[in-house]
Structures are given as structure tokens and as C-alpha cells.
Amino acid sequence: MKKRIVVMLLAGGQGSRLGVLTSHMAKPAVPFGGKYRIIDFPLSNCVNSGFDTVGVLTQYRPLALNSYLGTGQHWDLDRNNGGVFVLPPYMTEGDARWYSGTANAIWQNREFVDQYDPDYVLILSGDHIYKMDYARMLDFHRRKGAAATIAVISVPWEEAHRFGIMNTDVNAFITGFEEKPKEPKSNLASMGIYIFDWKKLRAYMEADDADPASENDFGKNIIPAMLNNKEVMAAYPFEGYWRDVGTIQSLWEANMDLLGQKPVLDLNDDSWRIYTRNPVMAPHYVSESAKVVNALVAEGAVVEGTVENSVIFCGAHVGKGAVVKDSIIFPGAVVGKSASVDKAIVGENTQVGDFAIVGGPVRPGEKVNNKLTGDITLIGNDVVLPNCAYVPKGTVVNAENPHQPAKEA
């Protein structure tokens, strides 16, 4: 049956900059905000915008994502007509290809899109945290009569060189596109959200696929080709919270944005709920000995220690006397008695032993490889950190490479 628009959600990213958090799952399946996974945001945006047909393109470690999405029932995407579909790469008679680029992923799934005969496709990526009404973007796209519309957000000029920058005219038509320009002419950054006329996009993807030199990427190939051909392309200005959570630093910051007197990112919003696979757990319990200040605590958690400026996910446990500060404790993780966790991300089902110190100062003579993490300490999923372990600031610990208890000085 015909659909006006089909959504294609690019969730293939390995997210290597998220280090050990993505060693067993794709980036969109990484937990966020106490009870969500990153992918809940684009999916909920789709549902809240009234878009009900979503293809999720995966190729890296899809198990966690597949089982998380299920039939899509948690997002009201279990539909007779439409719904959510996981689209991994596949083999054909003569050929078997991984997705070689973002555009190629869509191209390989053109039959999926074609069966709905849509006028438009919306391309999303699975690693951004934001609330956005895509229906308004679609209105904008139609009003502008554009072949492609790219959502843009104003970023501080001094940071513009880190983004894909759209140069636009006064009518919001795109005149040029520069990936990470040294001298940006505009501060409108691409959010990686595109609406295309499907027929147009199909033609460009076909040409692109025939070009062996192409990287089959939207930003590098498709968009520049359309600009070269003088297609009408519009920049949809988005105002509001938007964050790429592709690095440890930005993932940590985005979680912290949920805290404070007036959180920068307020999810307590009935008009724009973020849906998720809700854990089946009792309300969280805060004990007599606990102190919880400026924090987010999800159901199933038990807090017996001190929690400050932190996000405690469902089913996590903070033991008696433990102090958790400026940290993110993922689902099911346990912080042992009198342990201290400072500016850290503690992975799913990880156990931090009693009296352990996570995120302590780097001691003389200690070497820490903190290329990925900066001053954030990262304990991966399913790690068992022994009692009294000492993990200096910026360290990455994962289950395959267990932490060696530091030698006593």
C-alpha cells in the first residue's frame, strides 16, 4: 500500500569512538538517560510525527538492536500496514555486499522502499539525541518545492569547523556544502537528517552506484552531486536541543544535560514522549542512608549511598557508603559498598567491587591511554572490578581485558 513517506534509519554505525561500550552492540543500542537507548529518540520522533513506516539499517553487531526493537510494539510500530523493519545487508544470486556507505545502504534496500511507492524518504541517523517534529520538516520541504531538504542547526562559529556546513541564501536554499571547512562561511551544521523526493534520490543513487570511485555516502557523494546538478535544495532550520552522542565525552555531556534545575534537555514532556522498551521492574528504592541530589534515577534501581549529578539506570545498585558523582551508571550495574565513582561511565551489568575507586587521580608513574575518554573513566559492560580496585581517571576497562589491581605503592 502506498505511503506518503518512508523513514530509513541508519543504525549501522560501529561507533568505534564509544570504545568498549559498542564492543557488543551497535551505537544506537547504547543506553541513554536512565531508561532509554539512543535509537528511542529517532523512533519516538517518527511516531510522534505520524510517520509509521521505518526501515532500520544495521550491519554491525545487530543482535542487541534486533532483539531490542522486536516487533516495534513499544513504539506503537507493530502495524499491519507499515511498522518497523530491521534491514541487514543480504546476498543476491550474483552478489553479496556489505553496506559500503550510507547511500549504498539505502540503495541496497530500494525494493523495501519501492513496495510503499512513497513520494518522499526521510533519512535519519541512529546516534543523535533530539526531539523533532519531522512532519513540519516535510511541510517545509513541500513548500520549498525542494528535491532535497537537509535539517540544519546553528552551531557556535568557533565549532563550525567540526561539522558539515551548509551555505544558504536568504530563502534557505542551499548554495554550497562543505565537510569540516577550515574557514566556514556559515554556522549552519547538517544534522544528518534528510528528506528526499524518492524518485530523484533513486536516480542519483543509481548513478552513484555505477561510479566505482564513489564512497556511496550522502554527505560526500549524493548531496554534492545534487548541488552540482542545480537541484533545488533547502535547509530546514531546527531550533532546540540536538546532540551527536558519538563520543564518550558527548555521551556523558548529553546525559548531564538531563540534570539541573531547568534541564537543557527536558524529557518530562507529555506532548512529545520518548517511548522505550520499558523494564519490568518495581519503583526504585532510596534507603535511609542514601543521599540523592541532582540526579536521574530509573525504576528498579536501589540507592543506599550518595548520588550526586548522576544518572542511575534501571536496575542499578549503589551500595551503602558508596559515592557516585558526575557519573552514569548503566542498567544492572552494581557499585559496591563504600566504593567511589567519579566522572565515570559504568557499563551494563558491571560490578564495581566494595571500596573500589573509579576515576581517582592518575598516580605518579601510572600511564593512562585516554585518547577516547579524556578525563572520563569508562568501565565497559559485564566487567567485574575487584574489591579495592583503583582505576585512575581516563582509563578504559573492559571484560576481555580485565583490570589488573594496581600494585600497592
Partner: protein
């Protein structure tokens, strides 16, 4: 796993002493434990034991129950085969739509009972909140060859003035029920029925028809008590925590018991999760001014004040300077600045304006009705 039984839950229980808590809802729909309704427990118990077909007999005020249960999705009971069947009263020539008692209520769904192919039925009320593994109970029923097996728990609180349905079982050393007492002034046994029983569907149908033809209508008084000698009725002991929703004081005490970790371990055993309707609320947010001690807090709460020995349901707002002590605050209630609440039960959507003070007692918790503003 139980593969040859279906569940049948009746929800039309008397609720007078729950006062304002059951003003607009049946006992089965009474909110409990921060995010649940009474019915969630027995329904989840059945699902966790492998039962895939559950009939739910509703009587009065069942709209909030229907809203809560929907198609049974959260319990994995939205199925093509089997599933959850809501059985509201309806009018026929021989059925006035008003039930005189449990016999009438169960008999009114005899079509459902006849249609369900399973050999056994697990018949339960909705008043008892418990997390029971029904599999061993079924195994006991089969191995003893009992006609009826009744789940019971020890209840030492003998309150002669209370007149709630209180079925006591007097057992011999084999666990057979030799005698029963209903609402005894001074019960002779601490073994109190949890209102969960197993029998064959054929026996249930027979007992219902027999009672009906004799003009009897109460399943406990007119059937179980009378059949004590002629049928082999066995007791099955439940050791865990059970909360019975019978009075406002009882509701309050049973809710407060959840602050005890052992009680929570019983009731929220992760091996037998309790399912409920999900609301997609955000995780609870504590502000810099929040002080929370010994409390259960559900998702969606925004806490800026003090909360102690209390239970906050989903989406409760506590403003700065507010003190909530020994209280139960249900879904979506708002507690304003500098409010003091002690021994208070706020029903759903209640608003307490800034500066108000409400104080009740253990024996007399104050209940503020749904959607009221104080």
C-alpha cells in the same frame, strides 16, 4: 509450567471499607506499590506460571480496569489463540446483570468456561496481592489427587471486629482441609485463604449449577464450606508476603510494608516479574534541593522537596520546601511548596496547594479523593 489450566479472576468484591480508594474503581484497579494495580499481581502470577488464557469477570466500576488492562499486551496476553478475556456483566433473560454473589458472577460467564478447552481452572479473587509460583501448587494438586486445592497464608492478625471475607482453613496433618470458617468472630486457625484455588473445570461447572439450583449464590459460604467433608479439599501454603486490600488502614500498612527490603524481595522477585501497564515516563529527577530517605519512587517523578518513609507513584511532583512523611502519593499528584503531609494517601491527580498541612495517623490515614484540590 502449567499447560492445562486457564485462569478465572472475579473482581466484583465488596469494597466498602476501602472508602474513597474504591469510589471510582473496583478493588482490582486499586493502585498499589508505586506503579501497579491490585490485579497486576495475580494476573502476572498466572502468566508467569505459563497460563495463556485468563478470563476476568468484572462487575461494577470496571472502566478504569479495562483502561488499565487493554488487550492484555503488557502481560503477553494479546494473542490469537487464548489471551485475556474481559467478561463484563450483561443482561439476558435469566441474568439481571447484577450479581448477588460469586456463584452468580462465575455462572454468568459459563459460556467462556465451556469454551475454554483446558481441563483445570485456577479461580482467584483480586483482593490479595502476592507473588506466588503457581506451578508447585498445581503439582501438589495433581499429586494429591485433591478435588480442590486452596492457597493459604498465615495471618496472625485476628481482628474480630473486621467483617471482610475471611476464610480460615483448619487442616489435618496431611494438609487436607477438615473444616472451614468464614468471617469467624474468633477464628480458630491462622491459616487464611488467599482466594486462589485449583480444581477441574468440570467440578467448577457442577458446583456452580448445584448451588444455583438451590438458590445459593456465595461460592465460599454456600459451596466451599458445605463441601468440606464430601470433597477432598487440600491447602497449599504460601510463605511469601501477602497484602490484602480490605480497609484503608490495611492498605496503608501493606503499602508501607514495601519499604522493607524482604517484602520487596518477595513481591518483586525478578524471576517472577509483575507486569503492569507502561506509561513511558522519564526516570525520576531529583533536584539539588531534594532530600529523600527510605522511600519508593516511580518513574516520572520530579522531586524538589523532602520525602521520607513514603511511596511516590508515577509522575508525582514534589515542590521545594514540601515535606512528605509516611505517605502514599498516587500517580500525577502535585504537592506544592511548603506543604506538610504525614500519614496521608493522595489519590491520582490530587493537587495540594502551597502551604497546606495534612496529618493523619497509622490507624486513620487521611485519604484525599481522586482529582481533588486541597
Amino acid at each position: 509450567m502449567i499447560d492445562n489450566a486457564f485462569g478465572l479472576i472475579y473482581t466484583g468484591e465488596q469494597s466498602g471499607r476501602l472508602k474513597d480508594l474504591t469510589l471510582s474503581r473496583s478493588v482490582a484497579a486499586v493502585p498499589f506499590g508505586g506503579r501497579y494495580r491490585a490485579i497486576d499481581f495475580i494476573l502476572s502470577d498466572m502468566v508467569n506460571a505459563g497460563i495463556t488464557s485468563v478470563g476476568l469477570i468484572t462487575e461494577k466500576n470496571y472502566s478504569s480496569l479495562m483502561d488499565h488492562l487493554g488487550a492484555g499486551k503488557e502481560w503477553d496476553l494479546h494473542r490469537k489463540r487464548d489471551g485475556l478475556f474481559l467478561l463484563p456483566p450483561f443482561l439476558t433473560n435469566e441474568n439481571a446483570g447484577v450479581f448477588r454473589g460469586t456463584v452468580d458472577a462465575i455462572r454468568s460467564v459459563s459460556d467462556f468456561i465451556r469454551r475454554t478447552p483446558n481441563e483445570y481452572v485456577i479461580l482467584a479473587g483480586s483482593r490479595a496481592i502476592l507473588n506466588v509460583d503457581l506451578v508447585p501448587m498445581m503439582e501438589q494438586h495433581l499429586s494429591t489427587g485433591a478435588d480442590i486445592t486452596i492457597l493459604y497464608a498465615e495471618d496472625g492478625t485476628l481482628q474480630p471486629e473486621e467483617h471482610s471475607p475471611d476464610l480460615r482453613l483448619i487442616l489435618d496433618e496431611t494438609g487436607r482441609v477438615t473444616e472451614m470458617e468464614l468471617d469467624a468472630y474468633r477464628p480458630r486457625s491462622v491459616n487464611r485463604s488467599c482466594d486462589v484455588m485449583i480444581m477441574t473445570k468440570a467440578l467448577l461447572e457442577y458446583l456452580l449449577e448445584e448451588a444455583y439450583t438451590h438458590g445459593e449464590y456465595d461460592f465460599h459460604r454456600d459451596v466451599l464450606l458445605k463441601k468440606c467433608q464430601t470433597l477432598m479439599i487440600m491447602g497449599h501454603k504460601y510463605e511469601g508476603f501477602v497484602a490484602r486490600l480490605e480497609s484503608v488502614e490495611g492498605y496503608f500498612a501493606n503499602s508501607m510494608a514495601l519499604l522493607n527490603p524482604d517484602v520487596r524481595k518477595d513481591l518483586f522477585d525478578p524471576r517472577h516479574p509483575i507486569y503492569t501497564k507502561v506509561k513511558d515516563e522519564v526516570a525520576a529527577r531529583y533536584s539539588v534541593s531534594a532530600v529523600v530517605k527510605n522511600s519508593l519512587v516511580a518513574d516520572g517523578c520530579v522531586i524538589e522537596g523532602d520525602v521520607e518513609n513514603s511511596i511516590l507513584f508515577r509522575g508525582v511532583t514534589v515542590k521545594p520546601g514540601a515535606h512528605i512523611i509516611n505517605s502514599i502519593v498516587m500517580q500525577g499528584a502535585e504537592v506544592g511548596e511548603n506543604v506538610l503531609l504525614d500519614h496521608v494517601i493522595l489519590d491520582k491527580g490530587v493537587k495540594i496547594l502551597p502551604g497546606r498541612t495534612l496529618q493523619g495517623y497509622d490507624s486513620f490515614p487521611i485519604v484525599i479523593r481522586k482529582n481533588q484540590t486541597v
